[in-house]
């Protein structure tokens, strides 16, 4: 395939206008010994051949298992209108809205996205989005260190272990001390331990709700304790749960981040996803990432622009709040369309459906002999079960029956080798839950 429209005649006229004889002359600045003769790659092929090849590859993936896998990434309903609207070329073939007059569509959509994230989380300002929930959390850590001028960050091991690894990699050279507080599936974070870890060097305390094991918490008291210690409270949250659960802003969080994948983005083997990032108004100027603001044009009409750019890399260079340049605009658009379609009642119903199905599945699985539900705290859509055998092996067996049974926790928590994290969404039917329970019973 080619997407170059030039005819031989065009080429000849253009080369002549430039005053060179051949294409090669345009590359004369490249030292001769460094030029490439030809790339060792196959010749180009037709659309149909590319489709056939990728279609064949796509079929060698087990995407149609009845899945109870979650761990921060969930298989939710995506209304058809999400794909339809976000595949409009006016959205997906535009770029960062540097020229506001010809980007009001993108700018207003981002303003609506920021507004929805604020309403969902109970915060006062949100940025235009980041790459994913993990990078958003890592950026929050760096922001907290910059805001407080302190170097210690306390993090619960109930925070997604993948995010904890990302924070470690991100901050490896910044002289930040990460202190982990041990959490377990049995209950919520131990308050005495958490409060004892907060001292005059602490920049932030990081919690997750629901935590990685599925337990739901109200951490208003921890937010207060952090404030008393002069530290920020950072909360990483699951946005669908906010259809039902108390908002982190109402608990007193200073920075709220999370993975927006469940808001209308397909799982897509790990990306692209959506990091959301929201703060209290007082922290806006320290927030990383693009921000859209409302203003008026020269006729006094309401319109939107990229604002507070003095924080950003293209102005501040090495002194910027972050190196981030683009956001996840099209992913944020998906989330905005998704939240518009679900609306006030729809998101609540989705959250209730998840919670009801989890409650049903938890009760059903608890009837299996030798199996124990570990969570003693309330759960939302995910919970931890302990099996009489190593979870990894049991999960393997169940794949043959067509089930992705959940995520064995031993991979990230060696002491929990027999534990399995089971997630429910509105897409799992009662019949699927029942047959999963039967298959699990047999496998044990």
């Amino acid at each position: 395939m080619t997407f170059v429209p030039h005819t031989d005649k065009d080429r000849a006229e253009m080369l002549s206008a430039i005053g060179v004889r051949s294409m090669d002359d345009l590359f004369a600045d490249i030292p001769a010994e460094l030029r490439v003769k030809a790339l060792d790659m196959a010749e180009g092929v037709s659309e149909q051949e590319v489709y056939d090849r990728l279609h064949e590859m796509s079929r060698r993936n087990a995407h149609s298992l009845t899945s109870f896998l979650g761990g921060g990434f969930y298989d939710h309903v995506i209304p058809a209108a999400v794909d339809s609207l976000t595949s409009r070329g006016e959205f997906f073939t535009a770029y960062t809205p540097y020229q506001p007059e010809v980007s009001q569509g993108t700018l207003q959509a981002i303003f609506e996205y920021q507004s929805m994230i604020c309403r969902l989380t109970g915060m006062e300002a949100a940025n235009a989005s980041m790459y994913d929930g993990g990078t958003a959390l890592a950026e929050a850590v760096i922001m907290a260190v910059n805001v407080t001028g302190r170097d210690k960050v306390v993090i619960s091991t109930g925070v997604n272990p993948i995010y904890r690894r990302m924070i470690r990699s991100y901050t490896a050279n910044l002289g930040i001390r990460l202190v982990e507080l041990s959490a377990s599936p049995d209950g919520v974070l131990d308050r005495a331990v958490a409060v004892a870890a907060l001292d005059g060097d602490t920049a932030a305390l990081i919690v997750q709700n629901p935590d990685y094991f599925g337990s739901v918490d109200d951490f208003s008291d921890l937010a207060q304790a952090a404030r008393d210690a002069g530290a920020l409270l950072i909360a990483s949250v699951y946005p669908i749960s906010l259809g039902l659960l108390k908002r982190p802003g109402d608990m007193g969080a200073d920075i709220v981040t999370g993975e927006g994948q469940s808001l209308g983005l397909p799982l897509s083997f790990g990306g692209p996803y959506l990091g959301f990032f929201a703060v209290r108004q007082a922290l806006v100027r320290k927030m990383p990432g693009r921000i859209v603001g409302e203003t008026v044009d020269r006729h006094g009409k309401r319109c939107f622009v990229l604002t507070l750019q003095a924080r950003e890399q293209h102005i501040r260079r090495e002194k910027a709040t972050s190196n981030i340049c683009t956001n996840g605009a099209l992913c944020a658009l998906r989330a905005t369309v998704f939240m518009s379609l679900l609306g006030r009642q729809g998101l609540r119903e989705m959250a209730q459906s998840c919670a009801r199905k989890a409650a049903y599945a938890k009760r059903r699985l608890a009837q299996i002999k030798g199996l124990r539900v570990r969570n003693r705290a309330p759960v939302f859509n995910e919970f931890t079960i302990e099996l009489p055998a190593e979870a990894d092996g049991v999960v393997c067996k169940l794949i043959d029956n067509g089930f992705a049974a959940g995520f064995p926790l031993g991979r990230y928590y060696p002491e929990l080798g027999n534990c399995l994290l089971v997630a429910l969404t509105e897409k799992r039917s009662k019949a699927e839950i029942d047959s999963f329970a039967e298959a699990l019973e047999v496998a044990l």
Binding site: S64, L65, F91, G270, V284, K301, A329, P378
Partner: protein, 489 residues
């Protein structure tokens, strides 16, 4: 003015219906105590599906895009995005695939097709750039830069060295210094010489035993191939300093030169530029990073390996790795588009794309050189840098005014005021997918605008006239900080 979606909300109106719960599920006790529950449902708009369709369709029509307009935004490579790439990325076997599946003990067999896409993409990127190995994890260009800087820090640390400085030319993208700084380095700026290349004398004076790396964009942001590249590479390597390639401008080099052959040790690509994945209004992109063999042990986990029996596996057993910089394997659906694009074009097609990108830029250069200042007027690569300095001095018409006049002519403006070292910069990158007719129409408008700047500079003040919005008050936006509509009304 298009009302906000919140302003269209009517209590009780709704769109989506969810699957019905069975009686047994409805009876299951929730066990969620009041303390953890929200008092009210989330304050999202209450609208019908048709309301949503009309609202976002109307918003989309407020945008310029590659699909609707010539979009010569310099350094952004706004080329056509082939639709087949969208189609294959959305295949259910990819889109519905949970990223944790291959982390199950028996899980790699469940994602062989997806792992092969990643492995093959890595191989093609290695050939395209002349590097030994790639990580596909970085989720954007700037994220690639940060990853590259973390790799360089780890490399020096492993050699028992603590080098703290990174040299960056003054013409570089702002992400370069910001990324180096986020990786813990101190940034030292290097000057540009009269011809637009790195000032070698200044470079030599700043290169010392504390210099961890040099970050270069090649061709640079002036649109010029760095002629001293061999010398810079040799000086750096003799000093134990690594050379970093910012791939923002790789569309100028495909099939013509490879960063690995030029002496670069670490390379990032912007697949949303060079390999034509959509820009999406500002993301998502992908910024894979390639390295020489010496840096390969430090790449983030996991790496996709191909076994002798032809199967693919994720390798996490990499003790010297910098760790995780993405939750999984990178922006898979973006990478799948880039893979499809490379297959469609093949080696010859990629070179053809580069050749025509450079041809188009030079055509614009010669056609506009009489009416605009061209600070470094010589054969350029894939973009040409103009200045509105002459218009500014003669009649007070600035680069921004010319940008607004171009909007009225139906073109997306070039990048303005970048690079920072050129006054009134207008950086134009036409890309290879634009026809001679489109370029001729743009040239005619640019010349008309240059003449208008002489004859009637006052008219620029009210431009653009053709758009719904004109010259937003950015100072007011920054002062008032209205960043969200938190409550209706």
């Amino acid at each position: 003015m298009i009302p906000l979606i919140f302003e269209k909300s009517v209590p009780g109106r709704r769109a989506v219906t969810l699957p019905r719960l069975s009686p047994a599920e409805l009876e299951a006790p929730l066990e969620l105590p009041e303390g953890v529950l929200a008092e009210m449902p989330p304050d999202l708009p209450e609208v019908s599906e048709l309301d949503v369709i009309r609202h976002f369709t109307a918003l989309s029509q407020q945008n310029f895009s590659v699909d609707t307009n010539f979009y010569p935004l310099g350094s952004c490579t706004m080329k056509y995005n082939p639709r087949i790439c969208e189609k294959v990325a959305a295949l259910e076997g990819f889109a519905g695939l949970h990223p944790l599946l291959p982390q199950l003990r028996c899980g790699e067999t469940l994602a062989q097709g997806a792992l092969e896409v990643l492995w093959q993409t890595e191989r093609l990127l290695c050939e395209l750039t002349g590097m030994n190995a790639f990580t596909l994890q970085p989720m954007a260009g700037a994220h690639g830069e940060l990853t590259g800087m973390l790799l360089i820090a780890a490399y020096h640390r492993a050699n028992g060295e603590k080098r703290e400085k990174v040299l960056i030319p003054d013409s570089a993208h702002g992400t370069n210094p910001a990324s180096a700084s986020m990786a813990g380095f101190k940034v030292v700026t290097v000057a540009t010489d009269a011809e637009g290349n790195v000032d070698i004398a200044d470079f030599k004076s700043k290169l010392d035993s504390d210099t961890a790396a040099v970050m270069l964009t090649c061709p640079n942001t002036l649109g010029i191939f760095e002629r001293g590249i061999r010398e810079i590479a040799d000086l750096s390597h003799d000093n134990g300093t690594l050379l970093y390639y910012d791939g923002a401008n790789m569309n100028a080099l495909m099939g013509r030169a490879r960063p690995g052959d030029l002496g670069f040790d670490v390379v990032h690509l912007n697949v949303h530029k060079t390999l034509s994945t959509p820009h999406g209004g500002g993301g998502p992109g992908a910024g894979p990073v390639g390295v020489t063999a010496a840096l390969e042990p430090f790449l983030p986990i996991a790496i996709v390996d191909k076994h002798d029996d032809g199967t693919f596996a994720l390798n996490y057993d990499r003790p010297r790795s910098i760790g995780c910089i993405a939750p999984f394997y990178g922006n898979f659906a973006v990478l799948a588009r880039a893979f499809a694009y490379m297959l469609l074009l093949g080696g010859d097609g990629l070179r053809q794309a580069t050749d025509h990108a450079v041809l188009n830029a030079n055509y614009l250069r010669v056609k506009l050189q009489d009416d605009y200042e061209i600070p470094y007027n010589r054969v350029c690569m894939h973009e040409v840098l103009l200045s509105a300095n002459r218009q500014m001095k003669l009649s007070g018409v600035r680069a921004l005014d010319i940008a607004k006049a171009l909007i009225d002519a139906g073109h997306h403006p070039p990048t303005v005021y970048f690079p920072l070292i050129v006054h009134e910069a207008l950086m134009i990158e036409p890309t290879e997918t634009e026809s001679k007719e489109t370029l001729d129409a743009f040239i005619a408008d640019m010349i008309r605008i240059a003449r208008l700047a002489q004859s009637d500079p006052e008219v620029f003040k009210t431009m653009p006239e053709e758009t719904r919005v004109s010259r937003p008050d950015e100072t007011k936006a920054a002062r008032e900080m209205k960043l969200a509509m938190i409550q209706d009304g």
